[in-house]
Amino acid sequence: MRHLINITDLTCAEIDSLLDLADRMMKAPAAYRETMRGRILATLFFEPSTRTRLSFESAMLSLGGGTLGFASADSSSATKGESLTDTIRTVSAYTDVIAMRHPKEGAPLAASFKSTVPIINAGDGGHNHPTQTLTDLLTIRQEKGRLHGMTVGVCGDLKFGRTVHSLISAMSRYPDVKFVMISPQELRVPEYVLAEMRKKNIPYTETERMEDVMPSLDVLYMTRVQRERFFNEADYVRLKDTYILTEDKLQAARQDMIVMHPLPRVNEISTRVDDDPRAVYFKQVRCGRFVRMALITALVHAAEAGADTLFAQEERNEY
């Protein structure tokens, strides 16, 4: 049974097929209104995330399927002391696919060992969030027309920001991708991520100043710099404005660069940037819905066909 726990569970070919399907769904959503008719998606949110949960539910409803689940651990049987694996065994008897978010790292993997339906990791602590990465990839491909041959700037908290690590590991698999890491010293990309990149000969540079590298970027991926990550208030005050994207700083960027952000945003992108055609973070949200539609469809079809490869049934299923 195929699950999506980590973005690296998917081959590049499977990612390409998922993005292709998401593109087709976005262009002609009506054609997919019945694709998941009669199937049920469980959204098990042991930790609340309204944004992500709504995105999954919207995706399943758009495909003609139904949803059930809970929005926080208070309303689940976990508060009665039921184990995660018992909850999963029960819910997989009621549903055809499960999207789960859990505060503990690795919880979706543990769930996948006992589930009889595909598990989608909708975030496990600060660990993995593969549907965010799929969303990011779809956005980049739609806006730039490709995933290879790209200089990707990632900016902000690169130490704890796992969406960034996951994006790096996914984009590193495409040829000729360079990374520019823009962060304060304290929030640099962890050494083990950099070591992995060096091992694969992925070129990268590190800088503290966004302005210096702006003209070289095809993509600027912004993340939040959280106050609590700093050792002292003085450093935070000194650095926080450095990592705020303003109209002024955007002046130096290429006309075809895109600005992305996983949202929610606090103040790291000035709202005055929102109307710039290069700002695509709200388009990203829309991509999130369609990429989840594609993922649900592919996982459910693979499970129903007993296939170990996504899209092995593609010809027969006419999507």
């Binding site: 184990s83 995660l84 694996t85 859990h102 505060p103 503990k104 790292e105 690795g106 919880a107 993997l109 543990a110 060992f113 496990d124 602590g125 600060g126 660990h127 083990y192």
Partner: protein, 142 residues
């Protein structure tokens, strides 16, 4: 039990000097009924000094545990007083229920009944990572 020769059993050779007691505990040899000899600080041409453990019975030994603790150990199987098999160890690809994950944010800290799984992520540097949370194992501790 004659320490020099056993008729039927296992000899763990080339143990790093001083680590035999640790192995004794890991392998649960204290629970055995048969004779077990721990020989410390044996002179060795290759290693300077080494430890040896002799077990006077052909028990089943978890080679993964052994390989994880010290891939340099040689396992000699003895039948009729002669070595019938020599096993050289290597770092196992996975460790199942040998070590525990210490990350408090890991699901294994909250959910009982899960296998403790570690995967070899860097053979050169002997780095294992928790299959659930990817946290690397720091030292070889149980």
């Amino acid at each position: 039990m004659n320490i020099d020769s056993i008729q039927r059993g296992i000899v763990l050779d080339h143990i790093k000097a001083g680590r035999s007691m640790e192995l004794y505990r890991y392998l649960g040899l204290d629970a055995l009924e048969c004779s077990v000899a721990i020989i410390k600080n044996v002179k060795s041409e290759a290693m300077g000094r080494k430890d040896i453990i002799k077990i006077d019975d052909n028990i089943s030994i978890d080679l993964d545990v052994l390989g994880y603790i010290d891939p340099g150990i040689t396992v000699n199987i003895i039948e009729n007083g002669r070595i019938t098999e020599k096993k050289h160890l290597s770092l196992p690809e996975t460790l199942t229920n040998i070590v525990r994950c210490k990350n408090p944010r890991c699901i294994t800290s909250a959910e009982t009944g899960l296998d403790q799984l570690f995967v070899l992520s860097d053979r050169e540097n002997a780095v294992y990572r928790c299959r659930y949370c990817d946290t690397p194992l720091k030292t070889k501790d149980a």
